[in-house]
C-alpha cells in the first residue's frame, strides 16, 4: 500500500535484500554442487555423436535394426596417430523392438551416450517405409533429441548400406547425404524433406507426402592403395564385421562408393507405395517446390537450358453444381547453356520455337508425374488440400475416395516462359567452312527440324 509509511519501517527494512540475494546464491550454489546437482550435464567427451541414422527391418517381426554412423571426434582436430589414419566415421547396428530402445542399446554398446542431436539425416529402408512411418515419426517428433528439422530419406534396399559409403569429396556420411540432397534439389530430382514437413503432409487432408530416394553407387577404384596401406589391420575385414569396421566400404572390393539421389518415393498417408523416376520427379518438383537452376536438355532441337521458376500456383474452381476444375500456372526463366548445331538465337522465330519446346517438355514431365501418381493412387501435388483450403464444404463431400477421384478432375496447366537468356554469348561460334552464312530464317528453322 503506497500511502503512509513510517520512517522507521522503511529504515528497518532497508538494505536487506542484497544480503538475502547473496545468501540465496551461496546456498543455491552449495546445494547445487554438493547434492549431486548439475543433473543435465553431459560433457562432450561422454557423448558419441551420431551423424546419420538408418532404420531397417529387424530379424524379428516388428523389430527395427537401427544403424548409427558415429563421428570420430579424434579425427576432428587432426589428431592422427603415426600408425594409422583413423576413419572419420564408423557404424554401429543394433536390433530392438523400438527406436528408443535401439538408441539405448547403441549407448550400451559404445560405452558412451549416443547423442542424436547432430544427426541430420535419417535413412529409412524401403521395407520399413512400406509398413508405414507413423510410429517412427511419432518418436522423432516426441523425443527432444530428434526434432522436426531432421531430414528423412528412403533407401532403395537396405538403409544401412547407405551409411556404408565413402565419398570422394565429403568424408562424413551425414554431410555427404546432405550435399547429395542439396545437389539433387538443384537438379529438380528431389527436395530434402524434414520430419515435420513429412508429418504435416501425411496428416493433412488432401495431400500425400513424398520423400527423396537414395541409392548407393560405386565410384571408380582409385586411391585405394593409400587407405589399405594405412589401415593394415582392417584389410581383412569382411561384411560380418560391419559393426566395427570403419573402412569396410573401401576395403570390400577396393571401390569407393557414394550415394545418389534417384528420385522420389510416393507415399499414401505414411506408407510407401511406389516410386517416381527422374523425369516424374522433375515434374513433381516443378509443381511442388519449383525449379532452381535445374538443367534440362531438349532433344529436338538439341539445346541444354537451365530453368528457374515455380512453384506452380494451383487454383481450384468449384462450379455451382459441384464440379471441380483446377488451373495450375508455372512461370519459368530459361537460360541457354549449351547449344548444339548453329542456331541464330537472335531471331525472334527461333526464340518462340525454343520457348514452346521448353514449355512442352516441362509440361510433358508434369503430365508423366501426375499420371504416375494417379496410377499409384496418391495425391502428392495437393489437389485435395487446395480444395480444402478454397472450399472446405465441397472437400468434405468428396473427401472419401479422393485418391480415385482426383485423376478424373480436369487440370489445366500453363507453363509460362517468362524470359529467355542466352548466357554471356549471343550467338553460336561460327564454323569455318566454305558455306556462306545463311541469311534466311526459314533455312534456320528448317535446320532445327533436322535430326541431329
Amino acid at each position: 500500500m503506497t500511502c503512509t509509511s513510517s520512517r522507521q519501517g522503511t529504515v528497518r527494512r532497508g538494505g536487506r535484500h542484497y544480503w538475502l540475494a547473496f545468501w540465496v546464491v551461496l546456498v543455491t550454489v552449495c546445494t547445487g554442487l554438493s547434492s549431486g546437482g548439475c543433473w543435465s550435464r553431459k560433457e562432450v567427451t561422454e557423448l558419441a555423436w551420431v551423424s546419420t541414422m538408418a532404420i531397417d527391418r529387424g530379424q524379428k517381426s516388428g523389430w527395427y535394426r537401427v544403424s548409427s554412423s558415429l563421428l570420430n571426434t579424434r579425427t576432428a582436430v587432426g589428431m592422427t596417430t603415426a600408425t594409422a589414419v583413423e576413419p572419420p566415421e564408423f557404424v554401429v547396428s543394433v536390433e530392438a523392438p523400438s527406436i528408443l530402445e535401439a538408441t539405448r542399446q547403441t549407448t550400451a554398446m559404445l560405452g558412451r551416450r549416443a547423442f542424436y542431436v547432430h544427426c541430420e539425416v535419417i535413412v529409412i529402408s524401403e521395407e520399413v517405409a512400406r509398413q508405414g512411418l507413423r510410429p517412427i515419426i511419432d518418436f522423432l517428433t516426441r523425443d527432444r533429441q530428434f526434432l522436426q528439422a531432421k531430414r528423412l530419406i528412403i533407401a532403395k534396399g537396405k538403409a544401412s548400406d547407405i551409411l556404408d559409403v565413402r565419398g570422394s569429396v565429403e568424408e562424413r556420411v551425414g554431410r555427404l547425404i546432405m550435399t547429395a540432397l542439396d545437389s539433387a534439389s538443384v537438379y529438380g530430382l528431389a527436395e530434402s524433406v524434414t520430419v515435420g514437413q513429412f508429418a504435416e503432409a501425411a496428416s493433412s487432408p488432401g495431400i500425400d507426402p513424398v520423400l527423396p530416394v537414395v541409392e548407393r553407387v560405386s565410384l571408380e577404384p582409385q586411391n585405394v592403395q593409400r587407405y589399405s596401406t594405412s589401415v593394415p589391420e582392417l584389410s581383412g575385414a569382411t561384411g560380418q564385421t560391419e559393426q566395427h569396421s570403419p573402412s569396410s566400404a573401401i576395403m570390400e572390393g577396393g571401390t569407393r562408393r557414394t550415394v545418389r539421389v534417384v528420385g522420389l518415393a510416393a507415399f499414401r498417408n505414411d506408407r510407401l507405395v511406389g516410386w517416381f523416376n527422374d523425369e516424374e520427379s522433375f515434374g513433381l518438383t516443378a509443381l511442388l517446390r519449383g525449379l532452381r537452376n535445374t538443367p534440362l536438355t531438349l532433344t529436338s532441337p538439341r539445346v541444354a537450358v537451365s530453368l528457374t521458376g515455380g512453384p506452380s500456383k494451383l487454383r481450384v474452381k468449384v462450379s455451382p453444381d459441384g464440379n471441380l476444375e483446377y488451373t495450375s500456372e508455372l512461370a519459368v526463366d530459361v537460360s541457354f547453356l549449351q547449344v548444339f548445331g548453329s542456331l541464330d538465337l537472335s531471331r525472334q522465330e527461333v526464340h518462340d520455337l525454343l520457348m514452346q519446346q521448353v514449355a512442352h517438355e516441362i509440361q510433358r514431365r508434369i503430365d508423366k508425374a501426375l499420371s504416375r501418381a494417379a496410377e499409384l493412387r496418391v495425391d502428392p501435388a495437393g489437389f485435395g488440400l487446395a480444395l480444402y483450403r478454397a472450399n472446405p464444404k465441397r472437400w468434405a463431400q468428396v473427401q472419401a475416395g479422393w485418391r480415385d477421384r482426383w485423376p478424373t478432375v480436369p487440370v489445366h496447366y500453363r507453363v509460362d516462359i517468362r524470359s529467355l537468356k542466352t548466357g554471356l554469348a549471343v550467338d553460336v561460334p561460327p564454323v569455318s567452312t566454305d558455306d556462306v552464312p545463311q541469311q534466311a530464317a526459314s533455312r534456320v528453322i528448317q535446320r532445327l527440324e533436322e535430326p541431329v
Binding site: M1, T2, C3, T4, S5, S6, R7, G9, T10, V11, R13, H17, L20, A21, V24, T28, G37, W39, S40, T141, R144, L147, Q148, A149, T194, G196, Q197, A199, E200, A201, S203, S204, Y388, R389, P392, W395, A396
Partner: protein
C-alpha cells in the same frame, strides 16, 4: 521550467528520495510490465490450447480474444483510475469499504498465488521438458520462485525498469527472428479456411481471453502508476492498457501465424510448445545452429518478470487481507505457499494443456468478477477523505535552478 520528457516521472528525479514504501513508475514502465504479464505465456502456451481447437484459424481467435481483452481492460482500468486516482483497487477499497477489501484481497490473493504457481509450472515445463530433461522440476520451481520473491521485494521500480529493458529487447528481436525465418513460412498455411465455420474460432477465443484477462490484474497495481504531468490517471491507465495489449497482440499474432505457417496446423496442434518447435527450425546460417538458445534466454527473462510482478501483486492482495502496511514483507512467506501449490496443482503436461483450455473461464471467475465487484463497491461507497496525497508528488518549484550554488533546502530530508 523544463517539462520532463516522456516516460520520466518526476519521481525519478535526481536527488535523494524520501523514504517511502512504493515508488511510482511511469506509464511506459507500467505498460512494459503489462506486456510481460501477457507475452511470455501467450507466446509459449497459448498456441497449444488454441491450435488444438481452431487449427490454422487460431490466429483469428487470437486477434478476437485480444480485442476483447483490450475492450475490457480499456474500460475497467481507466474507470478504476478515474474513481480512485493514484490508488490500486484494494487500496481504494480499503478506505471506502474495508470488509470488501479484505474479502476481495482474499480472492485475489488465492487467484494470484494460483497464477504464480502456474507460471512456475510453465517455467518448469519449458526448461525441463524442452531443454534439460534430467533436471528435476523442483529445481526450476524453487529457483524461479526465489528470484520472483527477491524481485518483488526489490519493489515495483526495479521491476518496471527491468520490464522496460526486456520489452525493448523483445521489440528489437521479434522482427529479426521473423525475418530470419522468412523462408520457412508458407503463407498458404495460415490463410483462414474456416472448415467448420466460425464456431471453433469463437470457442478458441476463450483461452485467449483467459490469458488476456491477466492484464486486469494491473488494477491492483494502479496505485504505482504515475501519470505524466498534464495527464490524468484514467488517461495514463488507458495508455498502459492500450500499449500492453497492442504490443502483446502484435507479437503473439505474428509468432502464432509464423508458427502455423512454418509447422503446418496439424503438426502445430500436436506440439506441446509449438513456438519453441518453430524456433528450433530457424537457423542463422551455419553460425549459430539454432537461435533457440537466445530465444529461451529472453523468454526466461520475460517469464521471470511476470513471476516477479505477480508475486508483488500477490503480496499486495495478502497485505490487504491482513492489513499490513508494507505488503512486501510477505514476499518470502508467500514463496512457500506458491511452491506448495505448484507441486500439487498440475501433475502432467496433458493436465496442463487441458487446464489451459479452460483458463478463460477460470480467469473470468477469479480476475474479472472480483474486479467488477470492487468497482461496483467503489462506485457505491462515498469517496472518503483521502488519507494523504501520494507522498512523492513533485515538489513545486523544484524545477527551477537557483543561479548560485546550494539551495537552502536540506537535501537529506524527506519531502513532507
Amino acid at each position: 521550467m523544463v517539462t520532463p520528457p516522456s516516460g520520466v516521472s518526476p519521481g525519478n528525479m535526481a536527488i535523494p528520495r524520501s523514504a517511502q514504501a512504493d515508488e511510482p513508475i511511469s506509464t511506459g514502465e507500467m505498460a512494459a510490465l503489462g506486456t510481460h504479464l501477457l507475452i511470455p505465456t501467450t507466446l509459449m502456451f497459448l498456441p497449444t490450447a488454441v491450435i488444438r481447437i481452431a487449427f490454422q484459424d487460431g490466429w483469428l481467435s487470437n486477434i478476437l480474444g485480444f480485442g476483447l481483452t483490450l475492450m475490457l481492460a480499456a474500460i475497467l482500468l481507466p474507470l478504476l483510475a478515474h474513481a480512485a486516482p493514484g490508488q490500486g483497487l484494494l487500496e481504494a477499497l480499503r478506505w471506502r469499504a474495508p470488509w470488501i477489501a479484505r474479502w476481495l484481497g482474499l480472492v485475489f490473493g488465492f487467484a494470484l498465488v494460483h497464477l504464480e504457481a502456474l507460471v512456475v509450472i510453465e517455467i518448469g515445463i519449458l526448461w525441463q521438458q524442452a531443454v534439460m530433461p534430467e533436471t528435476p522440476d523442483t529445481f526450476f520451481a524453487i529457483t524461479a520462485l526465489v528470484l520472483a520473491a527477491l524481485s518483488a521485494r526489490a519493489g515495483i521500480e526495479p521491476l518496471g525498469r527491468t520490464a522496460l529493458l526486456f520489452a525493448g529487447i523483445l521489440l528489437i528481436f521479434t522482427p529479426v527472428i521473423l525475418f530470419m525465418s522468412f523462408d520457412l513460412i508458407h503463407p498458404a498455411e495460415f490463410q483462414p479456411v474456416l472448415a467448420n465455420g466460425m464456431k471453433p474460432v469463437v470457442v478458441a477465443t476463450q483461452p485467449v481471453l483467459g490469458f488476456g484477462e491477466e492484464l486486469l490484474l494491473l488494477a491492483l497495481g494502479l496505485g504505482y502508476l504515475r501519470p505524466r504531468p498534464g495527464s490524468s490517471p484514467a488517461k495514463a491507465s488507458f495508455q498502459v492498457v492500450a500499449l500492453a495489449t497492442g504490443i502483446s497482440m502484435g507479437v503473439t499474432v505474428l509468432f502464432f501465424a509464423a508458427t502455423i505457417a512454418a509447422l503446418g496446423p496439424r503438426e502445430a496442434s500436436r506440439d506441446l510448445l509449438p513456438t519453441l518447435t518453430y524456433m528450433h527450425l530457424i537457423r542463422l546460417g551455419e553460425f549459430i545452429q539454432r537461435i533457440e538458445g537466445v530465444v529461451l534466454l529472453f523468454w526466461t527473462w520475460s517469464i521471470l518478470t511476470k513471476a516477479g510482478l505477480v508475486h508483488l501483486l500477490a503480496c499486495q492482495a495478502w497485505g490487504a487481507v491482513f492489513a499490513i502496511r508494507d505488503a512486501r514483507v510477505l514476499s518470502l512467506p508467500l514463496v512457500g505457499l506458491v511452491f506448495a501449490e505448484s507441486r500439487i496443482l498440475i501433475r502432467d503436461t496433458i493436465e496442463l494443456v487441458h487446464y489451459l483450455m479452460i483458463w478463460g473461464l477460470i480467469a473470468t471467475m477469479f480476475f474479472l468478477v472480483p474486479l467488477l465487484i470492487g468497482l461496483v463497491a467503489i462506485g457505491l461507497t462515498p469517496s472518503p477523505n483521502r488519507p494523504a496525497p501520494p507522498p512523492n508528488a513533485a515538489v513545486p518549484g523544484q524545477n527551477t535552478l537557483s543561479p548560485n550554488g546550494p539551495s537552502p533546502a536540506p537535501g537529506g530530508q524527506p519531502v513532507p
